[in-house]
């Protein structure tokens, strides 16, 4: 609870920041530039996928600029890295620093990112204080947008954390449904990687699995900096469940995939979108990765015929195939560009507040269909796609588009 005094201080600071911002904006409007902040973990275990996400967003922005910008505004990018060498992957402390940098840069009117929910949890309260909306193309932890935690993640009330993917409130449970209905799994062992995303998705998976009558034989937590997971995997082998579910990102994921192929060669193994991406294919490689199931918190946009021209342009520009979260990043950029355009068209000044409100009311046609958000910033479309890693020798072994075979949509819980 805020004391009256701190409330007054806060209000007056906000007013001051607002006044400064208005001043800066009138200067910026003269040369008609707005900035979009992009925060992704370019350092560490998720760097490859962060690049693919960044490229998706930049493709949309560059294309808009090539057509003369949006409503007369040239779009600039403030690129920030929330991965650190010490963490070896995304680092929430760095993410918080980056959020402050974005808020401090008066020209930044909206942001794209972060990739990881652990960073999202650190950034969201700061962005809320700065009235800066962000659109994440991949972070799926439901707490950040859950109204129950609004006091923690959006202290100023309004939704500022929008997503072009759905959340683990669906990704975990729907995969549990898939385990029960399609893979006929009767017992499972659940692992997570101690990160915000990993723990969250493993929790929601586990809860739904139990509800569906799958016996959860155990749950353990891996230290992502550790290399040896044979202890855990041997323990799982001795319990002999039908399946393993791993909630987490690539840093631990690569090693789980490798070592599980030795110790649990025949077990059904799967995970969430942390197991979907180039990093898993490169780090774990074949044959270890063969047969793993993974999901994404979005429709399988890459197989949508409408996406083909974008995929072509992406491949031509960056020399590699996009993954689905490159496209959700492309969509995130489209959402922001559309918001800027509508604000400008309405004759209002392109301010953070106005852009946020425009994002909130978005009806944007994107590659995954029309995007609209609920009051918390969550996507109204809640489709979870299931993939399986099946080697296709015709393509490079780290080609996400071709090495992940699309199996269908995971069943929604009724």
């Amino acid at each position: 609870m805020l004391s009256r005094r701190s409330l007054i201080i806060q209000l007056s600071t906000t007013a001051l920041v607002g006044a400064l911002a208005t001043h800066a904006r009138s200067a910026a409007a003269a040369d008609k530039t707005v900035k979009i902040g992009i925060n992704l973990p370019f350092t560490g275990a998720d760097a490859h996928d962060a690049e693919l996400i960044k490229d998706g967003a930049l493709l949309a922005i560059d294309e808009a600029n090539a057509q003369g910008g949006v409503a007369g505004y040239k779009i600039e990018v403030l690129l920030l890295d929330d991965g650190t060498a010490t963490a070896g992957q995304y680092d929430p402390a760095q993410a918080a620093t980056n959020a402050r940098k974005m808020v401090a840069d008066k020209e930044v009117v909206a942001a794209i990112g972060p990739q990881m929910s652990g960073s999202g949890k650190a950034m969201s309260p700061i962005l809320s204080q700065g009235d800066l909306a962000t659109v994440t193309p991949s972070s799926t932890n439901p707490d950040i947008t859950d109204p129950k935690f609004a006091g923690q993640y959006r202290p100023k009330g309004k939704a500022i954390y929008f997503r072009t993917v759905t959340t683990d409130a669906f990704q975990g449970p729907n995969m549990a449904n898939y385990y029960a209905d399609v893979l006929k799994v009767k017992s499972v062992y659940v692992l997570d990687d101690s990160g915000a995303y990993g723990v969250g998705i493993a929790d929601t998976f586990q809860a739904q699995a139990e509800k569906r009558g799958i016996k959860v034989l155990g749950r353990d937590q891996l230290n992502p900096k550790e290399t040896d997971y044979s202890t855990t995997l041997t323990k799982i082998k001795s319990l002999n469940p039908d399946a393993l579910y791993y909630g987490g990102v690539a840093q631990a994921g690569v090693k789980v995939v490798k070592q599980a192929s030795d110790i649990l060669p025949k077990m059904i193994k799967g995970g969430g979108d942390g197991l979907y991406g180039a990093e898993i294919l490169r780090g774990a490689g074949f044959p270890a990765a063969e047969g793993w199931y993974a999901t994404i918190a979005a429709p399988n946009i890459l197989e949508n015929p409408d996406a083909a021209p974008v995929i072509d342009r992406f491949a031509k520009k960056y020399g590699q195939q996009p993954e689905n979260y490159s496209i959700t990043a492309y969509d995130a950029a489209l959402v922001i560009l559309d918001a800027v355009k509508r604000v400008a068209a309405s004759g209002k000044e392109v301010t953070r507040d106005a852009v946020r409100d425009a994002i909130q009311t978005a009806h944007v046609k994107t590659l995954q269909g029309e995007i609209t958000f609920d009051d918390n910033g969550d996507l109204r479309n809640r489709e979870i796609s299931v993939f399986r890693i099946v080697k296709d020798d015709k393509y490079p072994p780290d080609d996400v588009l071709h090495q992940y075979k699309y199996l269908g949509v995971a069943p929604q819980s009724s």
Partner: protein, 309 residues
Amino acid sequence: MSDYGVLLQQVVNGLSLGAMYALLALGFTLVYGILELINFAHFNVFMVSSFVGMWALELLGISGQGHVLTGPALAGALVFAFAVTMLAGGVLGVAIERLSLRPLRGVPGTAAMITTIGVSYILFNVILLTVGAGSENYPNPLPVVRWQFGEVTLELKTLLIWGVATALMMTLHLFVNRTRLGKAMRATAQDAEAARMMGVDVDRVIVAAFFLGSALAGAAALIFGLYYNYTSFIIGYTAGLRAFTAAVLGGIGSVPGAMVGGVLIGLIETLGGQLIAVRWTDVIIFSILILVLVFVPTGLFGRAVPTKS
């Protein structure tokens, strides 16, 4: 698997981990025994060596998991990779001593130790910035061969770890106890000043300690890569910290202490993970370390110099 079978399998896993920790712990102990310096650069000498081993294998045309060798070709590839990796590790260790530690020789206090932390960070960031941050799919020329003994699975790579680690530790033991340079090392460890007066070239002894310790880290690094088919710029920290703990547990400065400490830490890690939960591993390891230090402050093998074997 029965409870008994799974415990036995965890002992097998623990011995493999322990062998790696032991090789790495020897590097801490050799240097500490002679200089009373904790060499934190050792963490990342291990990490850098694992990349050298990877490049050595790739130089032979072995990459990823698709190039399995057998017979003499396999033996040749392994000998080459071990030779290159150990030599590179050793040379790196000596270079660190020569460039960053020798100028500080005789400076009292913690300057030298802090320097090793700095060197460690330099190595870490050099690899991060030049090689990149991804996980590497470590080349693996070993065929997958498994033997089943009741409920326990033994793999070829497990035997390789045990074999190489045992051979290297025996060699080190003989070297320290049977050669002139080994004798000089023991003398320096007991009393550097007296050894110098007796005509021992102390600088040469120090170089030898760094070379041997770092070469063993090189061997451990290659074993690590072959065993897990993985390396990354971050591997030094956890493995290094566990190995350092092993050296302290065994009694830092003591060669047999490092070996026993390494194996103990490996077993504590796997059996603790099995019986309690893996997320408690560090709590268990460091609690046992503190208990040992409270009751046997010098570690299991005494406050020793490399001689008390």
